[in-house]
């Protein structure tokens, strides 16, 4: 997984299966970014084709943590299946979903 910082926006690009292990890695990197001053997180799932319910529960925990800090979380690069899954699971209620990383970064920066 790759991490990039643009001002107070952190971009985490996932790679592979978001399950317990993959989700924990996302959480670890996300919390590290929050601890070092990131206000907004963009999760780019372009290279991820599969997510399970454990991975989603970890993403919800990350979202709650970001919301506790009055921050922003956005997703981009979702496959249609993952997009639909996130919407059903309620992630889209509190996190924005954008088609591209550029749109996501712009979205959280202007929020």
């Amino acid at each position: 997984m790759a991490a990039e910082r643009r001002g107070d926006v952190a971009i985490l690009s996932t790679d592979g299966y978001i399950n317990n292990q993959g989700g924990e890695e996302i959480a670890r990197q996300a919390y590290a970014q929050l601890e070092t001053g990131a206000r907004a997180l963009v999760l780019n799932l372009e290279k991820t084709r599969i997510v399970n319910s454990i991975g989603i529960s970890i993403l919800i925990e990350v979202l709650e943590k970001v919301m506790d800090r009055k921050g922003q979380l956005a997703f981009c690069g979702l496959t249609p299946t993952i997009d639909k899954t996130f919407r059903i699971m309620g992630l889209a209620q509190y996190a924005a979903i954008y088609p591209t990383e550029a749109e996501a970064v712009q979205g959280v920066a202007s929020a």
Binding site: Y17, N19, N52, S53, I54, R69, T81, K84, T85, M89
Partner: protein
């Protein structure tokens, strides 16, 4: 931070100021914050908050140095409030249910008597609300997860419509199956009808060698759960790379198309969970949908292949139509008619005529072994050989030897053919012929007498070094020669009777005074009438020659 409510009394004001930060903070889970607030407000040295997990009390929050060393509460709730050796047990209750227990150390008897009931109600209410909130969240998560499953099955069904790429289809099935069962890994394999491996897809590592899947004895139409896969074989196969597995066959009408297997169901707290009957039902649903889609894709590919073959056959038929003479030569003293009816688009029969010097006529009828494209290719080779060699050979037997050699050199497959070749001199009526294993040609004399011109050697291409004998006979005016292939005499009717040589002789004899073109059509019509609707499996060719 919200504004503090107006203090009803100095003590409440102190309580609020003490509780505000621990309760509203987000730096630790609520049980920890409650333990800290209780210690801070009561002035206890340390405290530990336990919550119930099934039958056990589990420590969920600590406050103060070495708080983890505080002993857990007893299971009975009756003596909970009684202090013992400086230890106060505070039941945290709400709505008639004890949600947790707080163990505080260092309170005096008086403080404990005054503060514990208050803490019990306030912190019990907060902890109860927290627990209910978590339960609601978990229930909501569970409902949404089931909805994702249903939607996934629905979407998967839709995505299968028109999905003819087996690799994409396999990925879709595998990914959805692993995802929805929370498995850590999975494998999908598909087989050809003869059992050979067609395709293998894995995520997280292969569960078995692909060829081992082929012999895996999964019961037909049933999912197999093995939650001890590391030590117990799964339907006869030892899986070494997983702890628990769930496998289903992918079948259509009892025919095994492949296997779908997932393994090692994940847990949020680590470790591997057992697969459940609900997981098995879900995987079976995916396998059933996948089977239908895979079968559709397979049939589609078969249809494309069939279409390709038909196009090839049509092309071959067009080539063969070019090989057969478009028209018959006009030779003085000879009346000719010929017809060839292939049973497929392309056949293995061939006839040809060659006007030669001094008014002579060469003619042949051949029947190659096999049918379809291979037979048509051999016909093409024979056609080329005859046309190349006919001007070179001095005798008919030499022509046969040259054709035989040509076939051995150039024919792609070891096939053979029967061939009748005649060289007719209209002026004298002399007919020289060689028959390489061909059906006897029938010579119908003007009187109606029928003579058979039998084989004079073995079929071409059959034995190396073979030779053929040339025979001669003479046709008187109005005598009729019929050379044909066995598709004519071996045409069968519904009673499995063959048309036979006798019926052919009778048909020729009965119509021997008719023009040969008319007679040719009549013979073929007689054969068709005899066979009626019975499908015929061999080409039918007839060549008639009458000396006028």
């Amino acid at each position: 931070m919200t504004d503090a409510p107006p203090a009803a009394s100095p003590r409440l004001s102190v309580l609020w100021k003490t509780l505000e930060e621990p309760l509203q903070g987000t730096d630790a889970p609520l049980p920890t914050r409650l333990a800290r607030a209780a210690v801070s407000w009561t002035g206890a040295r340390r405290g530990a908050l336990y919550i119930r997990d099934k039958e056990n009390w589990v420590c969920a929050g600590l406050a103060g140095a070495d708080a983890e060393s505080l002993e857990p509460p007893e299971s009975s709730g009756a003596a909970a409030i009684a202090p013992r050796e400086g230890i106060s047990w505070v039941p945290l209750a709400a709505e008639g249910e004890i949600h947790g227990r707080l163990v505080l150390e260092g309170l005096s008897s008086e403080d404990a008597a005054e503060l514990v009931p208050f803490l019990s109600v306030v912190l019990g209410g907060l902890l109860g609300a927290h627990r209910y909130s978590r339960q609601v969240k978990e229930a909501d998560f569970e409902v949404r997860t089931r909805l994702v499953e249903l939607e996934s099955l629905y979407d998967f069904g839709l995505s299968l419509v028109g999905q003819l790429d087996l690799a994409s289809l396999a990925d879709e099935v595998l990914f959805r199956s692993i995802s929805l069962t929370d498995a850590g890994k999975g494998t999908l394999v598909l087989f050809h009808e003869d059992g050979r491996l067609m395709l293998e897809r894995s995520l997280g590592g292969q569960l078995l060698e692909a060829q081992e899947f082929a012999s895996w004895r999964l019961p037909e139409g049933e999912a197999v759960i093995n939650n001890a896969a590391a030590s117990v074989p799964t339907a006869g196969a030892r899986l070494t790379s997983c702890a628990k597995c769930l496998a289903v066959p992918i079948s259509v009408s009892g025919r095994r198309l492949g296997v779908l297997a997932v393994a090692d169901k994940e847990s949020r707290v680590g470790g591997v969970l057992d697969f459940t009957p609900a997981d098995a039902r879900l995987l079976s649903l995916f396998a059933n949908q996948a089977a239908a889609a895979i079968e559709t894709a397979r049939l589609h590919r078969a249809a494309i292949e069939q279409e390709r073959i038909e196009r090839e056959l049509e092309l071959a038929a067009a080539i063969q139509r070019e090989i057969l003479p478009r028209s018959l030569p006009e030779i003085a003293g000879v009346e000719l008619a010929a017809e060839s009816l292939p049973t497929r688009q392309v056949g293995g029969d061939y006839y040809d005529l060659f006007p030669l010097s001094r008014g002579r006529l060469g003619f042949l009828v051949a029947d190659v072994s096999g049918k379809g494209i291979p037979a048509a290719l051999l016909v093409s080779t024979v056609h080329a050989a005859v046309h190349l060699q006919i001007d070179e050979a001095k005798t008919i037997t030499e022509l046969f030897t040259r054709i035989d050699r040509h076939l051995r050199r150039y024919a792609a497959t070891r096939k053979f053919l029967t061939l009748f070749f005649g060289l007719f001199e209209p002026d004298s009526g002399r007919l020289a012929y060689v028959s390489a294993g061909h059906n006897p040609a029938l010579l119908v004399r003007r009187s109606g007498l029928v003579e058979a011109l039998g084989s004079t050697g073995v079929p071409l291409g059959m034995f190396p070094g073979a030779s053929w004998k040339e025979e001669t006979t003479t046709l008187a005016p109005e005598d009729l020669l019929c050379v044909y292939t066995d598709g004519l005499t071996e045409a069968v009717n519904a009673q499995e009777e063959e048309f036979g040589l006798e019926r052919l002789s009778a048909a020729l004899g009965g119509g021997r005074e008719k023009p040969v073109r008319e007679l040719c059509d009549r013979v073929l019509a007689d054969v068709a009438a005899f066979a009626r609707e019975m499908p015929q499996y061999d080409d039918q060719t007839i060549l008639l020659l009458r000396r006028t």
